[in-house]
């Protein structure tokens, strides 16, 4: 076997392995989503038999219609989730970009230590934090309020946003900011007119991350809300009652709840990909 043939076989094997790996990963990632769609279309009886009876003849829109009929409650929870997720995202991007820029560029004393401390806060499991958080929020009369949830969500969204943006800001050539200085821009003008417009990809990436985290969050929401500010995940969980779990409707609600996030991911996919890849490759 000559060198060329050997090389061709090697490349074929390599490509085959990559495609097989990606295929397995794709199935792994898409299987729960496929199962969700399938489940939402099956009647309750088909789901509780073992194994589940996946007969296309049984497909029905009853679950989805059921959720939509009872939509007042779901719409309320959608509004709550939207308020909390949008506010968290907006605040995380505003505060996170300012903090990340200051640490990346303005020689903040102990800036790097600060960033490590910010990261360290993420090491604590939620269960450790929930009791002190509950006490703090209840004393501040923020239980079952949008603001209360936003503050708590910021505590775990903001650090990640800061890390994503700091990496990107550091990769911007410092000469650009120096040029802006020579042109007569203040630090804030440089940030607003030069740095931020260049940072749209990581801002979108961080924003989508913040939104998805806040939209999907269940653990804190279930403990820190009661009746007024029930978010979508809480509402979905309520399909599971003490005596009966309405699997079909639960899954149908979950599917409807995923739609905003999926639309967001599709609309901003270009920026999200750019944002994560640019952050990774420092210039």
């Amino acid at each position: 076997m000559n060198e060329g043939t050997r090389r061709r076989i090697h490349l074929l094997l390599r490509d085959g392995a990559i495609i097989a790996g990606l295929g397995i990963f794709l199935i792994w990632t898409l299987a729960p989503i496929a199962w969700m769609i399938l489940t939402s279309l099956l009647p309750h009886r088909a789901l509780i038999t073992r194994p589940p009876d996946i007969d296309p003849a049984l497909f029905t829109l009853k679950n989805i219609n059921g959720v939509l009929e009872d939509r007042a409650v779901l719409v309320d929870s959608f509004i709550n989730s939207a308020i909390v997720a949008c506010a968290t995202t907006a605040l995380a991007l505003t505060l996170g970009s300012l903090a990340a820029y200051a640490i990346a560029r303005l020689s903040v004393p102990g800036g790097n230590k600060l960033m490590l401390m910010v990261l360290a806060t993420q090491m604590f499991p939620g269960i450790v934090l929930i009791i002190p958080l509950f006490i703090l929020l209840s004393r501040a009369h923020l239980i079952d309020t949008h603001i209360g949830l936003v503050i708590v969500y910021l505590s775990f969204v903001l650090p990640v946003v800061m890390w994503i943006l700091k990496g990107f800001f550091e990769s911007i050539p410092v000469q650009l900011e120096r040029a802006a200085m020579v042109d007569g821009a203040t630090t804030m003008q440089t940030f607003r007119l030069v740095v931020l417009p260049m940072s749209l990809p990581p801002l979108f990436a961080a924003g989508v991350f913040a939104f998805i985290e806040s939209w999907n969050e269940f653990f804190y929401a279930v403990i820190l809300t009661r009746t007024e500010v029930k978010t979508v995940p809480i509402r979905i969980s309520e399909f599971s009652g003490q005596y009966r779990t309405a699997y079909g409707e639960m899954i149908a609600a979950a599917m409807i709840a995923s739609i905003p996030v999926i639309i967001m991911a599709i609309v901003f996919r270009k920026y999200i990909l750019l944002g994560f890849s640019e952050g990774a490759v420092k210039g």
Partner: protein
């Protein structure tokens, strides 16, 4: 029109002096180049003049006024950076007009002034393009345009041509010099390219280890370098340096390196007492001729470069060599015997310990 004075400027980064007592006086409308290898402090000095970095100690005066505490903008300087530093999300017109936009000038005025600068720099057809759609030379022109529109007192250039190809670099040199003359500003230009410095400047400050080694006209820097460092940094090929000793007998002074003895001219008399007679003789390659009678030598290497040929000659008993610059293409084979003639009037002498010039020229 600005007169710039640097008085004992020191800039320290992490305990290292990037500038170590720089003194410079740059006159109005003068084109001065800071020349030196990487790490000599030339870009740091430029950033200090710009106000992009703060001096550790020393004073910067502009038109007699202390500007240490002023921002770049307040100093009325404009700068062209090595990597062009164009704002990637703005069009050419927006890049050039950015400084006016910051000053909240009316849109009509910005448009008109951008147009004028674009005409000056032949950028009119490119005004709506983004920087990434331009070639390196066009990007550099935009960077210059951004500086020109300010109508500043001082132009600062930080190795602006180092990313351009050789032909474009030479063209841009003359364009920048013409622009400087036309606008009547003071320009400070940083480069490590000695040829660029020689061709563009009124005066050159050769820098070394954070200090100005010599500040003078290109002719002075080339013909009467104060040290071996300056002598060898400026000029291509590098100045020939022969390491040897002085032999004095009566009125006659000779220079000996290895077994070779070169009789010296009258200017050897100006050489004072030196330790152990050790001395270094410097001579530029254009002052080494290949003739019919002179010092016998052997051709080691021949480098024809078009209008002239660089011939390296050597001797059997020493590793030292000389380069002679001969006009035209010369067909000589390595190993050939030739006679070399060294022009005594053009010889420079350096102290081997300090590197300082002690006589000659």
């Amino acid at each position: 029109m600005t007169r710039i004075e640097l008085i004992d400027i020191v800039k320290t980064f992490g305990g290292v002096n990037a500038c170590d007592g720089v003194d410079l006086l740059i006159e109005e409308r003068e084109f001065v180049t800071l020349l030196g290898p990487s790490g000599c402090g030339k870009s740091t000095t430029l950033n200090l003049i710009a106000g992009l970095d703060d001096v550790t100690s020393g004073t910067i005066l502009m038109n007699g006024k202390r500007v240490n505490e002023l921002s770049p903008y307040q100093r009325d300087v404009a700068m062209v950076f090595q990597q062009y530093a164009l704002y990637p999300h703005m069009t050419v017109a927006e890049n050039i007009g950015f400084t006016l936009r910051l000053r909240k000038r009316p849109k009509s005025e910005i448009r008109e002034r951008v147009q004028r600068v674009a005409e000056l720099l032949e950028l009119t057809a490119l005004l709506d393009r983004l920087p990434r759609e331009l070639s390196g030379g066009q990007q550099q022109r935009v960077a210059i345009g951004r500086a020109v529109i300010r109508e500043p007192g001082v132009f600062l250039f930080d190795e602006p041509f180092s990313n351009l190809d050789a032909a474009l670099r030479i063209r841009m040199r003359s364009e920048v010099r013409q622009l400087h003359d036309r606008l009547g500003v003071t320009s400070v230009f940083v480069t490590h390219d000695q040829e660029e410095a020689m061709s563009i400047s009124d005066r050159i400050a050769v820098m070394r280890l954070g200090k100005v080694e010599q500040f003078g006209t290109p002719e002075e820097i080339y013909s009467t370098p104060v040290s071996k460092y300056v002598a060898q940094f400026v000029g291509s090929p590098r100045m020939n340096i022969l390491d040897g000793e002085l032999l004095r007998s009566g009125k006659q002074t000779d220079f000996r390196f290895g077994p070779i003895v070169i009789p010296l001219g009258a200017q050897a008399a100006t050489i004072g007492a030196i330790d152990g007679n050790r001395i270094e003789l410097g001579i530029r390659s254009e002052h080494v001729r290949i003739g019919d009678s002179g010092l016998p030598a052997m051709v080691r290497f021949v480098q024809p470069i078009g209008p002239e040929t660089h011939v390296t000659v050597g001797w059997n008993d020493t590793a030292q060599t000389l380069i002679a610059r001969v006009p035209g293409i010369v067909r000589l084979q390595p190993g050939a015997q030739v006679d070399v003639v060294l022009d005594p009037a053009s010889m420079l002498f350096f102290d081997p310990e300090t590197g300082n010039r002690i006589a000659g020229a």
